[in-house]
């Protein structure tokens, strides 16, 4: 049985079609991530599942119960869900323990039981039990998010909804909090729907990813499969940094300024856009044998453990490659570029698009804030 199943969901705000026929099934105990850029409708979907908003059409089945059919839409408090908002939304007038036990029935749970339950949940999300008497404003952002999760788990909901739960945290805190939260969710074996625009978050936490653009799912599948075979160029770029090159597909092989390479998946012969991940590119010293038209280094960003080197190829196209931090690459230095493994290729669609127009690459620091605009 599925924990959540959504069929043919439509939602329109004014003239904007926000959800355009969404179908989704979440298996019991699994973590499903909806990955999409800002404004693709993913938060709207989450709010409709939670019962905060109403869909125009479609059905939502929670644990085998239809909660959306006809006029009798089940209110959020009757849905047996746990909801963690973007900034945690802890009640500022209650301390941590009162926040966590907020949803427990007041009359049937005694004082000691509430305290024990709060302590157990704090431990589950790797927080010290001494925090129980603190107030939300005395906690850091990551602690607040973990308390919010503990609060959502307190009632043992059949489905937990996470709305960009880590986007308000800074980079280092985000990774640590993500790990704890994923561990807590797995430990409780609770079905989870996570909405995010951060590919690292989706890839690392989820068992299953649904990529969403413009109100519909473009591809769904396990993270490895999605990363290995993204169906479209946009999905491929959403899932991670890459260099995009103009080339063509000839007899099942990609041909571009980097040479001829095998493909990850079928692409019809003809002009194509070739996509290479930075970890596939290896740089080596061209040495004295380099001819005048060889690839040259144009820039280098050093990150400590590794670096990202920008290289201009003989044809004028630019690629970005990851290299270990032991060699130095000065601008102007000639290099030889080799590609490991198969590459992605997609039939070229937009003639106006230049290959180096898409320098998507992770920058150190927080990603662009994904505000409530995608509601």
């Amino acid at each position: 049985m599925t924990a959540l199943s959504v069929h043919g969901l439509f939602k329109r705000y004014g003239r904007v079609q926000v959800l355009n026929g969404i179908d989704l099934d979440i298996a019991r105990g699994s973590i499903t991530a909806i990955l999409g850029p800002s404004g693709c409708g993913k938060t709207t979907l989450l709010r409709i599942v939670a019962g905060f908003d109403r869909a125009d059409a479609g059905t939502i089945t929670l644990n085998g119960t239809d909660v959306s059919s006809g006029r009798a839409v089940l209110p959020p408090d009757k849905r047996d869900i746990g909801y963690v908002a973007q900034e945690g939304a802890l009640f500022p007038h209650l301390d941590v323990q009162a926040n966590i036990t907020f949803g427990l029935p007041f009359l049937t749970t005694g004082r000691r039981l509430r305290r024990d339950r709060a302590a157990a949940l704090l431990e589950l999300v790797s927080l010290d039990a001494s925090l129980a008497r603190r107030f939300p404003h005395q906690l850091s952002g990551g602690q607040q998010q973990r308390v919010a999760l503990a609060r959502a788990l307190a009632r043992k909901p059949s489905l937990v909804l996470l709305d960009e739960p880590f986007s308000s945290l800074d980079a280092t805190l985000r990774e640590a909090t993500r790990t704890t939260v994923a561990a807590a969710l797995k430990a409780e074996n609770v079905s989870t729907l996570l909405v995010t625009h951060d590919q690292a978050e989706a890839l690392s936490m989820a068992d299953h990813i649904a990529v969403m653009t413009d109100g519909r799912f473009t591809q769904t599948g396990p993270p490895q499969q999605l990363y290995a075979r993204p169906a479209t160029l946009d999905t491929a770029l959403l899932l991670g940094p890459a260099s995009v090159l103009d080339g063509k597909v000839d007899d099942g092989r990609a041909v571009c300024p980097l040479g001829a390479m095998p493909l990850t998946q079928h692409c019809p012969d003809g002009d194509a856009t070739i996509l290479v991940r930075p970890e596939q590119l290896h740089l080596s010293d061209a040495g004295a044998t380099a001819d005048a038209g060889a690839a040259t280094v144009t820039g280098c960003e050093f990150f400590g453990a590794d670096m990202v080197v920008t290289v201009r190829l003989a044809g004028g196209a630019t690629i970005r490659a990851r290299a270990t931090g032991t060699t130095t690459y000065h601008p102007g230095r000639p290099v030889t570029v080799t590609v490991h493994g198969p590459v992605h290729a997609y039939p070229r669609q937009e003639p106006g698009r230049r290959p180096d127009d898409v320098p998507i690459f992770p920058q150190p620091g927080p990603p662009p804030a994904d505000g409530p605009e995608d509601r």
Partner: protein, 497 residues
Amino acid sequence: MPCLLIAGFAAIPLAVIAYYCFDVGWAVIEPLVFRPLIGELLTNTVLLCVTTTVCCLTAGVALAWLVERTDLPGRGVWLALLASPLAIPAFVNSYAWISLVPELHGLWAATLITSLSYYPFVLLPVAAALRGLDPALEETGRSLGLGPASVWGRVVLPQLRPAMLGGSLLVALHLLAEFGAIEQLRYATFATAIIAQYESTFASTAANALAAVLIACCLLFVTLEVLTRGRARTARLGSGAARAATPIRLGRRTAPAVAVLLTVIALAVGVPVYSVTRWLGHTDMAGFGMSTLLPVLATTAKLAALAAAATVAAGFPLAWLSVRYRSRMTTVLERSTYLSSSVPGVVVGLALVTVSIRYARPLYQTTILVVAAYVMLFLPRAMVNLRSAIGQAPPVLEEASRGLGQSAFATFRRVVIPLTARGVLSAAALVSLAVTTELTATILLAPTGTHTLATEFWSAAAEIDYPGAAPYAACMIVLSLPSAYLLLRQSARGVTR
């Protein structure tokens, strides 16, 4: 829909006066409006507004700068001390001065006393704006080659403009409405003339014509403020909190600066407190006693409590709408309460007398009518607090509670009420405290035999029974202290919001 009713209710005085003037016809109104008396009153009123507003602006901005931007010793205390005139009703201040210096009268005396009472209306918003100003703006100005004076003129002042304009509007509207303070100084403005007219000819056409001109003045001031406010965005761009500015070292100028502050405080607070305590010493306690004071206190408390409850009940749904369902419609509704609040108490009183006599006779001379007047007058004061109270309970918290299995009702009880309670209580407190010092509407509307602190004070002061007025004055000052504190805190919080 109920909110439409509430907003409409607050607009009754405006509608009544307009309808009345329309009803009796232009032929009757014209000679009443275009006559030398009105010209004289208009000159008097505008003159007083100009002189006092200029004084308040100068004093308010200068004091705000001293308090917020220099290294005065004891920085935290000065603002509270300088804001304390808020606790002294203007007509008590006037009484205090005139009982010490009986020669005071006319424009300059009125300017002095109203300025001393009203400068905090400019001081508080300007100080809050100065505090919220990102010093990086000034530093950037300096780095672009501007001297300290040019930075002040081209960077700081433009940022302070909304606060200065808002404060000036408040001062001007208070002056239009002020009756007690000005009457004692034998200066004639529209407000005093309306009461005089009412006392001689009751709710006559002449009184209503005066009220119509006064409303026109109010609307003119409000429009002027909106027009000059401009569209420039003065809020801080970008996220994060602004650093506090580095205070300017006063050095040798510390002593004169402190002397200036002390003089202002002595004039604005010291004189009334001294005067009231001196007269208290002369009060014939044997003849006066608690038996006289207690019933008056009880009546005042009853009216204050009724008004507070009614105002909060009317304001909460309106504030809820304007915070939660932001649209042009709800903003108009909310603003309409501000518009009617710029209508002086005299006009509200007169309008309610007129309307009750002509259309709702049973209501005339009832407590309901007085309380209705209080709601109209003080709804906006409550709105500020109610709005920020509701802002304390954002929808995401309600959603969190619903997601935790709580019904809509339980959510309201366990989340909304605890989070909004403080704001709602301070709204109620502000209204009830304002009621204790309300004079004009109470004079016009209170049922015969209803004696409040303000009316008792007024009848004693009008008979030059200074010792007899002193206990009521002292009570009003003490009761106004919490509301002054609330206003001070409100302005301190305004920055972080």
